[in-house]
């Protein structure tokens, strides 16, 4: 990592994730990085992108300085186009109206499976985590972007529990389980951008952030990463991108 950088890890993740979104997409976002990423995309290259919140909001517009505490409170709905019940907004995913979902988790493995349920043996957990929420539904039905810090304890050989399915055991196992749509698209970290090999479905480095080496990424990962033949170097966040984020979160409650 470069030391002279003028942005936080959260800002970096938000900018890089935001660039992965395409204009016109319908995006399921949570608060924090996903919301920053989607809003940033809306205000830069993707003005006709639509943000959905799990709480039931369609076409949210985030107001600077008024970030919602979760996706289930009224702040999410200010100037939205539509509100739906929580069940019906999740059914939009099942019907296929949603292109991209954002996801996090305490653990992710080489096939993009995510754990937000148990650390340790689920029968005798060291830590009981908050659980799936809509995470399982979103990752079962949409193409996923995971935005997370790159830490060895997080990037594990095998998650303790598959809360949200990635490619399960790789290859065709996801499809074999009955999950016919969606799947892991990208993992964005403070070190780089990862994708998944089209056959084995193993995680693969696609792009390294400025000053980061593949070895550094591997050293922070608990399993063997594939490396794309044509690894890119990520464009650093632009001043204009950072300005949007800082306008959204002037007190830096979420981007610090």
């Amino acid at each position: 990592m470069t030391s002279e950088r003028n942005y936080t890890a959260t800002e970096l993740l938000s900018v890089v994730a935001g660039r992965l979104l395409k204009d016109g997409q319908v995006v399921f976002a949570g608060v924090g990085v996903p919301l920053f990423a989607a809003t940033l995309a809306q205000r830069t290259h993707a003005p006709s992108l639509t943000i959905l919140f799990e709480g039931g909001t369609i076409g949210a517009f985030v107001e600077p300085g008024k970030l919602p505490p979760s996706t289930n409170e009224q702040r999410c709905t200010h100037r939205a186009n539509m509100l739906l019940s929580a069940t019906d907004v999740l059914l939009l995913l099942q019907r296929g109206y949603v292109d991209i979902g954002f996801m996090g988790g305490a653990q992710i493995d080489m096939y993009g499976n995510l754990n937000s349920s148990y650390i340790g043996d689920p029968d005798e957990p060291r830590t009981r985590l908050p659980g799936t929420g809509g995470g399982n539904d979103i990752s079962s039905l949409a193409n996923m972007i995971v935005a997370t810090r790159h830490e060895k304890r997080r990037f594990v050989e095998k998650v303790d529990f598959i809360t949200s399915p990635g490619f399960l055991d790789g290859g065709d196992t996801r499809r074999g389980s009955g999950l016919l749509a969606g799947g892991m698209y990208r993992v964005v970290t403070d070190l780089g951008i990862m994708g998944f090999d089209s056959h084995s479905k193993r995680m693969k480095i696609l792009s390294l952030h400025p000053g980061v080496t593949a070895e550094e990424v591997q050293d922070n990962t608990g399993f063997e990463l594939l490396v794309d033949d044509n690894v890119q170097v990520t464009d650093p966040p632009q001043e204009s991108e950072l300005n949007v984020l800082r306008e959204l979160d002037p007190d830096r409650m979420y981007t610090a």
Binding site: S70, N72, T77, S85, A86, T132, G135, S140, L168
Partner: protein, 319 residues
């Protein structure tokens, strides 16, 4: 007990309910009398929104035991129910103090020490279960939870092959709670309820439950309801009690009326962080058992916070 009630039983349970057009406004105490120890209780709202906190507050005061809780997403209200000994079981998709305060330390204490069960379904899984219950069908098919480990820990679930497409589907069983607690912005004395803003799973929950207790910011006239019947979201014949409780979600929010009481919740989170068990117990003693009534509870939250939460709540309509 089988997961899904037989249709014969389900019908008999509805048939025996008094579904006549009748006034049913009662006090919090009286409404709490409709909840029995051991009941399965569906909690309306989600996270910090439209949580039926006044009713929960009363159930804790009334010393209910062994309630099974069902909620789409659980937050501090469920921490209090665990810590007060009212419940040892919650079915939900996510249990947190709220994103800004992180994982629920009370939930961690109770579940990691096997003092309580947190049965985890996906958010849509919970929704489909309430919806099946609302529709009078024993299950609904869905396309999530497949492949994950969530299904490993659940008995009441069936993988199935679709007779039309040969696709794998998950069949999730109807959930018909013994009682649903739902807070609304307004309803009439019969229980015709209008909801503003986000409805979460409350409409399905009301239709699915054997009994519905509504708390409401305001009891309005039936005439007002009849002016815009397309705004009524819960029909009176599903409702068994109506309690008028202004600020009945405090310190959570009620859409368009007040936002969450963030300062109080911050303070609460600090008490919990310092000691999940003792912090929660002290909070329950001070804020739930000590006040002589709901208004005294509100006064302990503080006028400044009430006014601020209301100011923020109303601002949603300022466009």
């Amino acid at each position: 007990m089988p997961t899904v009630r037989s249709y014969d039983q389900l019908r008999e349970d509805v048939r025996s309910r008094d579904r006549s057009l009748r006034e049913k406004v009662v006090s919090l105490e009286e409404a709490a009398g409709l909840v029995n120890d051991g009941d399965g209780v569906g909690l309306g709202g989600s996270t910090l929104s439209r949580t039926p906190l006044a009713m929960i507050w009363q159930l804790i005061r009334s010393g209910r035991k062994d309630l099974k809780l069902y909620r789409s997403i659980a937050s501090s209200e469920s921490e209090l129910l665990l810590a007060a000994g009212v419940s040892r079981y919650i079915l939900t998709s996510w249990f947190s103090q709220g994103i800004i305060w992180g994982v629920s330390k009370v939930m961690r204490h109770y579940t990691e020490n096997k003092l309580a069960v947190f049965e985890e379904w996906s958010h849509m899984g919970v929704g489909m279960r309430f919806r099946a219950g609302a529709m009078g069908v024993p299950y609904l098919p869905m396309r999530t939870m497949l492949g994950s480990n969530l299904t490993n820990r659940l008995e009441d679930i069936e993988e199935s092959t679709c007779p039309f497409t040969d696709e794998k589907l998950l069949l999730v069983p109807a959930l018909n709670p013994d009682v649903a607690l739902i807070h609304v912005q307004r309803c009439d004395a019969f229980g015709n309820a209008q909801l503003d803003g986000l409805s979460f799973m409350d409409i399905d929950l009301a239709m699915a439950a054997d009994k519905v207790i509504l708390t409401t910011e305001q009891v309005v006239s039936n005439e007002q309801i009849r002016r815009r019947p397309d705004q009524t979201k819960i029909p009176f014949f599903t409702v068994d009690a109506v309690v008028e409780v202004p600020f009945g979600c405090a310190p959570h929010e009620c859409y368009g009326v007040y936002e969450p009481f963030f300062d109080h919740l911050d303070w609460y989170a600090k008490q919990i962080k310092a000691d999940p068990v003792e912090g929660a117990r002290r909070y329950i003693d001070e804020f739930i058992h000590a006040p002589k009534d709901w208004n005294e509870y509100l006064s302990k939250l503080g006028t400044a916070e009430i006014v601020d939460a209301a100011r923020r709540g109303r601002s949603i309509y300022d466009l």
